[in-house]
Structures are given as C-alpha cells and as structure tokens.
Symmetry: C2
Subunit: 341 residues, 2 copies
C-alpha cells in the first residue's frame, strides 16, 4: 500500500530556505526568534499539514509517552472497564496506551512484557494471568528499574504499587448478608486457590462465618477453574449433597450466573430454597431473574487510579515507595438473596 509520507521539518526548512533548527524553534515558540520568521514557519507548517514525529521525539528524550497495559482478557466487562479508565486518564495526561492480552497464559504474559518493554513504554500496568504462579519475570522488570504497577490480579511478592478492591471485606459483606437473611449453610465457590482474589475473598467469607459462630471446619468451600463446565458441575454437586447448602456465594458473577442456570434447571427456587450471590456487578447481573446480589467493584475507577498513580510516579509527583490502593466495595442486595417474609 502506498504509505503516506509525513511532512518533516526538513522539508519545511527547505521550502523556506531556513535551517531545521530554526523551524524547530519556531514550532515550539522559542522567544529568541524573529516574529516574522516564526509566523512564516508556523503558517507553512500548517499549510503543509505538518505533524511532529512522536517516534523521533521519543527516541531523543528516551521517553515514549506510552503506557503498556496487560490484562488477562479484553472482553471481560471488568477488565474493559479498567482499560477504559486507564485509557481516558492516560489520554488526558498526554499518554498513549498499548494494550496486550495474556489470554490467561503465563508465557504470553511474559512475551507481552518483553514486547512492551522493547517498545520503550514508559511504564506498565499489569493484571496477572490465572496461570501466573511464578513471579521471576516481574522481579526482572523490577530489577531492571522499569516502572510498573499491578491492578486487580496482583501479587504481594514484588514490592511495587498495587490497586485492588477490598476483596476480603466485599466477601465478608456478602456472606454476612446471607447469614443475616437466615441462611445457615453458606457455600463458597472459589476460583483457583493461588489467585490472590481467591484467597482474599475466602478470608472474608470465613470471617463472617466465624462471627456467626460457624467454624472453619464447618465451612463449605468448592474450587472451580472458572470454566463454564466446571462451574455447572460444582453446582450440581452441591445440589446432590445430603446436607445441602441453603446459600451459595460464587466468587465472580459469571460463575454465579452459571450456577443460577443449573439451579433453575433443577427447579430450585432462588432465594427460597437456595440464596445466591456473586461478586463484581457485571451488567448482566441486574437483569437476570432473579436479579443477582453482588458487590460493586469500581473497574473504571480502578483503572483511573492505577494510571494516575503510575503517571505520578513517572512524573515524580508520587514517590517510588510501593503503595497499596484498596478500593471500597459496595454490596448490592437483590432478589437472589432477599427472602420475602
């Protein structure tokens, strides 16, 4: 394809019989320049539709004004909200974003990092893949002094800033709510155990149980790899148990929806027979029937905070000391748990 040639300062200079540096100065409104020359240059630049070559500028100052973002998947509503927040923030502060998805793959995450670093991004915002259990690649980034922070899917093993929601408290709120509704046997369906959020949410779940006099030994924890099939499988398993749970807290909304479908299929009334709650407030959750009790996780806000903090560090407005931003969550009680009296 005929690639469009971009006008350069050199060409402007040539047309005007000036040196390139004069053009450069005129374009950045240097004071020590004859106003008339300045005007001539500016007008010529406009008429030739001159656009500065950001690549050249970046190479010169060794700063690209680009942030790299890595998320496990782009199509999840939560992550796309994060990205939206990051993008809007970066844009406002004069940065572009390069976005990669790891597709929940550890090797692809590593490859993404490598490419973004080679592309000279000024900093990285990373949300880890489900597969990531080894953090050497992050340690390497850290050792090389490449600025990055983590959000949502984080690890505590690397001393960089993190932005998360208060997962433990969110889970605590949900579980407490279920217990307050009179449920006695609350099951918790967790994602993979090594996931940070799995740990945190389980923590909150157990805390609420204990407060209501239920020991950890009496807790009902199920582990899913979060694939639809497994989710439904676990739902069936719960239904078949002799001492069946009367409430299910699913670690994320899509999981809850899968469970809901199984319950409905089996004629189980929600919430009368089994109450059901999720986590994250996906758009879907408010319109399913019964509407799903869940926890608001401010995705856009998280992205915004993460991007602003990273840019603050880059601009030396914020210190490099790792900071942990923990955003509040809000319980939204809906029909899937509200038992009519």
């Amino acid at each position: 394809m005929k690639r469009g040639h971009q006008v350069t300062m050199k060409e402007i200079a040539k047309k005007l019989g000036l040196s390139v540096s004069t053009v450069s100065r005129a374009l950045k409104d240097s004071p020590e320049l004859h106003p008339e020359t300045k005007l001539k240059v500016v007008e010529m630049a406009k008429s030739m539709n001159y656009q500065p070559n950001l690549l050249a500028q970046s190479l010169r100052i060794s700063r690209s004004k680009v942030l790299g973002v890595i998320v496990p998947e782009l199509t999840s509503h939560f992550f796309s909200s994060n990205i939206s927040g990051i993008q809007d923030t970066a844009y406002k502060r004069g940065y572009n974003v390069m976005i990669c998805q790891s597709n929940e793959s550890y090797v692809q995450e590593i490859s993404n990092i490598k490419i973004l670093v080679a592309s000279q991004v000024d900093g990285l915002l990373i949300s880890l893949s489900r597969e990531t259990k080894n953090y050497q690649h992050l340690q390497d980034l850290y050792d090389r002094g490449i600025p990055f922070i983590m959000f949502d899917r984080v690890t505590e093993e690397i001393p960089v800033s993190r932005v998360t929601v208060d997962d433990a408290n969110g889970a605590y709120q949900v579980t407490k709510h279920l217990l307050e509704q009179g449920c006695k046997k609350v099951a918790f369906i967790s994602g993979p155990q090594d996931l940070y959020i799995s740990k945190k949410r389980k923590e909150g779940y157990l805390k609420a149980l204990v407060e209501f006099g239920i020991t950890e030994a009496e807790s009902r924890v199920y582990i899913s790899d979060l694939k639809e099939e497994t989710n439904k499988q676990i739902a069936k398993q719960i239904l078949e148990e002799a001492d069946r749970a009367d409430a299910i807290f699913a670690m994320i909304d899509p999981l809850a929806i899968d469970v809901m479908l199984v319950l409905k299929e089996h004629g189980v009334r929600i919430p009368e027979d089994i109450a059901l709650a999720g986590f994250t407030n996906n758009p879907t959750s408010s319109v399913v029937e019964p509407s799903l009790t869940t926890v608001v996780q401010p995705g856009y806000e998280m992205g915004k905070i993460a991007a602003n903090h990273l840019l603050d560090q880059l601009d030396e407005i914020a210190s490099d000391d790792p900071q942990s931003f923990i955003l509040d969550t809000t319980l939204i009680a809906r029909n899937s748990t509200l038992k009519k009296k």
Copy 2:
C-alpha cells in the same frame, strides 16, 4: 522514578572492544562474520539482557509495526470483542496495537486520529462515533495516503475497505421470524437515523414487512438515541398506543433489555402479549428471562478479518482497492419470541 536503563548495542560493543556495526551484524546473524565474534556478541547480549530498541528501529525504517485502533467505547462487549480479535491477530503478525476510545465524540475521534498518526502507526482501524456525520477528517487521512479501514460503524463516503456484518439481512431474518410467529404489528426501534447500521437494519425490517404484505406506510419505526432513559420512554409510548404493537424489534440488545424491563414492569407477557427481539447477542441476552431472541454478530471474527486485511494491504499481499467484507449473521430464536402453541 528511577527509570530503567536499557542496554544498547553501543555498550555491548564497548565491553567487547568491537564496533557497533559488528554487534549489529552479529545480532542479526549476518553470514560475513567470524563465528567466534558472533558467539561472543550473542552471549554478551544475552548476559546483559539486551533488548533492541523498537523505537529506534521504527525511526530508521519509517515503519512502527504498530496499528492504531479507534472505537466508540471500550466497555461494550461487541467492541471489546473486536479489539480482542484485532489484538490477537496483530500480535501473531508481529504488530502492536495502540487503542483509543472516542467516547462517541466526534471531536475526540479527530483528536485520536491525530495522535495515532503522529505516533506513526502504520495503519488505522476505525469504528466511527455516533456523532460523526462529517467525514472530512477521514478524507484527509485518505488524501494523505495513510492506510486505514473501517469496521462496524462505517461510512460509504470514503473509498477504503470496510468490515461489517450483513445488517440488512440480520434485521430481515429477525423481522421475518417475528412475522412467522404470527405477529402482525411489528415495531422497530432504531438508533440515530444517520448511523449506517440504523439504515441497514431498517432496510431489512422493511423488506420483511413487504414480503408479508405490509407496506412501508404501515411500518412502525421509532427512533432512540440509545440512552437508557429514551429507550424506556419509547417502550412506554408503545405500550400506551391504542393500536398497540404485538412485537418489538430493538436495534441492539441493550435497547431490547431496557424495553424488556419496562414490559415486565407493566405486567406485559413476553412473548404472548408482545414478542421481543434484539441484535448482537450480548452475553446478557441468553440469561435474561425470557431469554432474548437476537442475531449473532461475530465481533472477534470481525476484528480478526479487519486486522488481517489491513496488514495484508500494508504488506502488499492485498491490493489497495477498497474491499467490503460483509459477514454473515445468524438468528438465534429464544423464548422472547417463541410462542408456545
């Protein structure tokens, strides 16, 4: 923040007492080089964790290996699927993507284009904002010879390649299906009239009506700006009409969901009293009650095709002649339209 210093060829050369060009040659495995030297360089590079500076390479060859993407919003499931397809494809072919969202704003769309072009992207994939009714900015891009193509939200006024779904046929399928279910008075709620997809879908709607002996004069077209409030407002309006519709075809799923909520609120049975259908197959649509009849729009596939085609043009595998890719849609009939006999 202490910015990580990237190792350069210069440093490798210095450590080895060689010239930069030798290092360069060694790293790209040039044949006319002493094998031993080559080995030394490669090993040193590895031990120093050398990564080529893509910015410098890009500047040199005037090709950035970056594609720019502009979508109206990142959080819509359809667009994030597009982006996912674009990203995966670009990644496989050695390209990165810079993503911007216009937030449905015309001026932001222009600004995004400007920034991406200044960033020297090799090509652009654009989905127009709702506000975009003037195409001069695209004409300018075209005149400057900057490769770009459009997807989903396109215009026919600029001679570049387009990737869309067969909107007219999808709408035709839906409307025909409603009529076949025995509905006599099918309403169509459209988005803003100047939107390409509004026109195309209305076209399909009318075609089906005519086939069933209903004239355009008898058609029932409503226009929404697609904001929740307007959507619900229109739904109420339809309910209040004396000669009430017995089926509603909403131009996009979220609109259909808004309508569904209003219908349910007013005790209208779906589909018995009013059948309801949408377009796009959002994840939500399959789990609402009743499940929503809709049309599958292959978002990921569209992104993939769009990216591959643009890259083919860039790599001169495909010609520059504008091509129009029209993807097939598939009707999914669900409970919101399937009347039990």
